[in-house]
Amino acid sequence: MNERGIDDILAIRAMMERASKFLSFSGLSGISAGIVALAGAWVAGGILSGASGAPEGSVAAYLFLDASLVLLASLGLVLYFSRRVAVKKGIPLWGSAARYVAFALAVPLLAGGVLCLVLMAHGLAWLIPACMLLFYGLALLNAGNFTFGEIRALGVIEVVLGLLAAALPAYGLWFWAGGFGLSHICYGILHYRKYER
């Protein structure tokens, strides 16, 4: 009878978790988004060093275009791989847990995005990598409540890298590549090995 009670409680716990958390995240999202970010950082390095042949006055516009393309490509890849997991598990992709995650991410990310534009307008572009990392890290910390808990550790790493990027602006792009590229790839591999094999 005792065994039965423990089994029942374990089953209740598993069901509650499956129902309340967004579990359609795939490690492949992290890996591919990380690669896109590294490519974007490489392009940005080229633009900043003048190797791309971007006219003097339009460096900011080129960087903005580069960042936007990275963002769109990453979002697309995350959606694609999440959909694949959802189909495989037979659960709806856009369930209430997904909505919680989306909202938890959206508020800090929008605030950070707007702040980046404000920094740009005030000639403080050197703070933008730090700002992106910080707000993204906080967004992940927030979203970690509604999905795999390990996401929160990734959030903390992004926050630390953001602070370092602010303290050492000369290496801003390197920290950015570390946060959005390398960290994502490492997290993606760990996630894939733990949950998808």
């Binding site: 009670g5 409680i9 509650m16 709806p92």
Partner: protein, 99 residues
């Protein structure tokens, strides 16, 4: 003093009914498809267990139209929430007697 075993709710003896209650306890409502996906059961199986819970007035069904498509959602009643909490308490006492 009543023993913990007699306080276990017979309605929740089925693993599937236990699962339905667990899912509905952590969200405001869930539709049939969501429940089916989370619990990994067949349509007929899920429907019959939901019917038992409805008959006991632990679960309430609501039919509504979302973008002109009928959607059936389920949520816990107050009685259902109370009964489920009492059942978990009883399970807990079973595992840790003397509390």
């Amino acid at each position: 003093m009543k023993s913990a075993v007699t306080q276990l709710n017979r309605v929740f003896e089925s693993r599937i009914r236990l699962g339905i209650m667990s899912v509905l306890a952590v969200r405001e409502a869930a539709d049939f498809t969501t429940l089916k996906g989370v619990l990994e059961v067949t349509d007929g199986n899920l429907a019959s267990h939901l019917a038992v819970l409805e008959k006991n007035r632990y679960v309430r069904m609501r039919k509504e139209f979302v973008q002109r498509k009928p959607q059936t959602t389920y949520q816990l009643t107050d009685a259902g929430r109370k009964a489920f909490a009492a059942h978990i308490d009883a399970l807990e006492r079973l595992i840790r007697p003397g509390r």
